[in-house]
């Protein structure tokens, strides 16, 4: 690990002042950052420890939603009574990721900002436009089993690796962000960035900004689930995952909020799927149409070609289960 200067913040303003230095990074749980610092993928000159600035509360909002502090651990969130009762898709998504040891440290804000697990990104001997702009993308012609099939660019085909954010996207949660100049709120669905020509940019956070909390809307009716397809049954990243909230009214679909993990540089949300599904009677043909729409621009890169049919089948399985249609 490269030498760095360690500073502990005692409040949000103090954290901002300490981080106003060249190559400073905030550290919360550290499970991703320290891993990358050991690999010298991340080489901050200063670490600003924000573990003592508060922001750990999980509390109801005035409108009946739920505000989750940026430093609430994944364990605290997944085991919280209101999350388990009203937002099971979120509890399920968190529990499907990592291990108990990691979830005990990992925080809400850090989890949203975690970096890709692309093998080229995490190996400093390999080219990677995300880590070293202009060096090329090793994955496009290389080992790409974990990689994206939607929203890729000629610069980067990495995936966003997390599970929690996929559920937050389906729930249409909001990210609350603070900086010296004020506060702003960004929907989770707009928080992460596609790689485009700026693959080094994972999300919309600007220098000096910090996530303070994530806000869930009031609970909605319907069946929630998180289905994760992976190489082994525990402690593996998603090949394809789907967070879903599906409500039936009689024989018709009344709500279908879906988000997809493991397929793109962002938790993937396609509003057109809801528009297609809602108001329709569920059957296999309808699910096929939804999969056609989701995957119309999908592109495989050899090793990850299998993700296209896998995403189709997983969508079928999720919609069948949620609507009670026999597969």
């Amino acid at each position: 690990m490269r030498p760095f200067d360690y500073q502990r913040a005692d409040g949000l303003t103090h954290a901002g002042q300490l981080a106003d230095a060249d190559e400073a990074a905030y550290i919360a749980g550290g499970t991703n950052l320290l891993d990358l610092m050991k690999l010298q993928v991340e080489t901050p000159r200063r670490l600003v420890d924000i573990n003592k600035v508060g922001m750990r509360e999980i509390e109801q909002t005035d409108d009946g939603g739920l505000r989750i502090g940026a430093l609430a651990t994944n364990t605290a969130t997944a085991s919280h009574d209101l999350v388990r009762r009203n937002y099971p898709v979120l509890a399920r998504a968190i529990l499907a990721g990592a291990t108990q040891q990691l979830r005990n440290r990992a925080t809400t804000g850090g989890n949203l900002c975690q970096r890709t697990r692309c093998y080229y990104f995490t190996n400093i001997d390999q080219p990677c436009n995300k880590r070293e702009p202009g060096s090329g993308c090793g994955a496009i012609q290389g080992i790409a089993r974990l990689h994206a099939i939607l929203g890729t660019s000629s610069q980067c085909i990495a995936t966003y690796p997390g599970d929690m954010a996929v559920a937050l996207s389906a729930l249409d949660a909001k990210v609350e962000i603070a900086s010296e100049s004020g506060e702003r709120t960004v929907p989770v669905r707009d928080f992460h960035c596609l790689p485009g020509d700026t693959p080094w940019r994972d999300n919309v956070l600007e220098a000096g900004e910090i996530i303070t909390s994530v806000v869930l809307p009031p609970p909605v009716a319907g069946r929630q689930s998180y289905r994760k397809v992976r190489e082994r049954s525990s402690y593996a990243f998603a090949l394809v995952s789907i967070a879903s909230i599906v409500e039936m009214e009689g024989d018709m679909i009344a709500r279908a909020d879906l988000a997809f993990g493991g397929v793109a540089h962002i938790p993937w949300h396609d509003e057109r799927l809801s528009n297609l599904l809602v108001g329709q009677a569920p059957d296999r043909k309808l699910f096929d149409k939804a999969a056609d729409l989701l995957l119309e621009d999908a592109q495989g890169y050899g090793e990850n070609d299998f993700k296209i049919p896998l995403a189709r089948r997983t969508l079928h399985a999720v919609l069948s289960e949620a609507t009670g249609v026999d597969q």
């Binding site: 550290i27 388990r84 009762r85 990691l102």
Partner: protein, 169 residues
């Protein structure tokens, strides 16, 4: 004011170099080598210790971030003369071969039984809100952060089930 970390009820000063991981602090500064370094990247779980009662990977945490915290290592759970119920069960069931992952397995399982008492669900739990039944599937899921390259998993699961039963009795 010098900040300290409490390890197994004894206080130790925090190292000057902020790069020292909690794991290296325990092994090289405190001299407690029961906690093991496997992958040093949070994948194998050999370095698992309890911090304020919660299990974490000590390799993925900096010692300097733990001022005021209370750390329990395998040495703090028991000793050959007076082993904990889990330590005894691991011996009785041969829950290891080479033994390298064992301190992490035992620390992890110690916290896991507490998590189940707390009613926290896992990915293997049928219901998010019901009582957790300690099935083999539950144990395997909850212990997936601890690898055993000798493959002693069946005996590790048996040891944990046994210790949990004793706990409940």
């Amino acid at each position: 004011m010098t900040e300290t970390i409490t390890v197994n009820e004894t206080e130790y000063p925090i190292p000057a170099d902020p790069r020292v991981s909690l794991l290296d602090f325990l092994r090289q500064h405190v001299g407690l080598t029961g906690t093991k370094k496997g992958c040093d990247h949070g994948q194998c779980g050999a370095c698992t210790v309890l911090v304020n009662g919660m299990r974490i990977n000590s390799c993925l945490s900096l010692a300097v971030m733990h001022g005021g915290d209370s750390v329990t290592t395998i040495e703090g759970l028991g000793n050959p003369e007076n082993p904990s119920a889990l330590q005894k069960a691991f011996v009785e069931h041969d829950g290891y071969q080479c033994g390298y992952c064992t301190p992490g397995q035992v620390c992890s399982a110690t916290a896991m039984l507490q998590e189940i008492d707390n009613g926290w669900p896992s990915d293997a739990s049928e219901s998010l809100e019901g009582e957790v039944e300690l099935t083999a599937d539950e144990i395997r899921e909850r212990m997936s952060g601890n690898l055993c390259r000798c493959g002693a998993y069946p005996n590790i699961v048996a040891a944990i089930r046994d210790a949990a039963k004793e706990d409940a009795a």
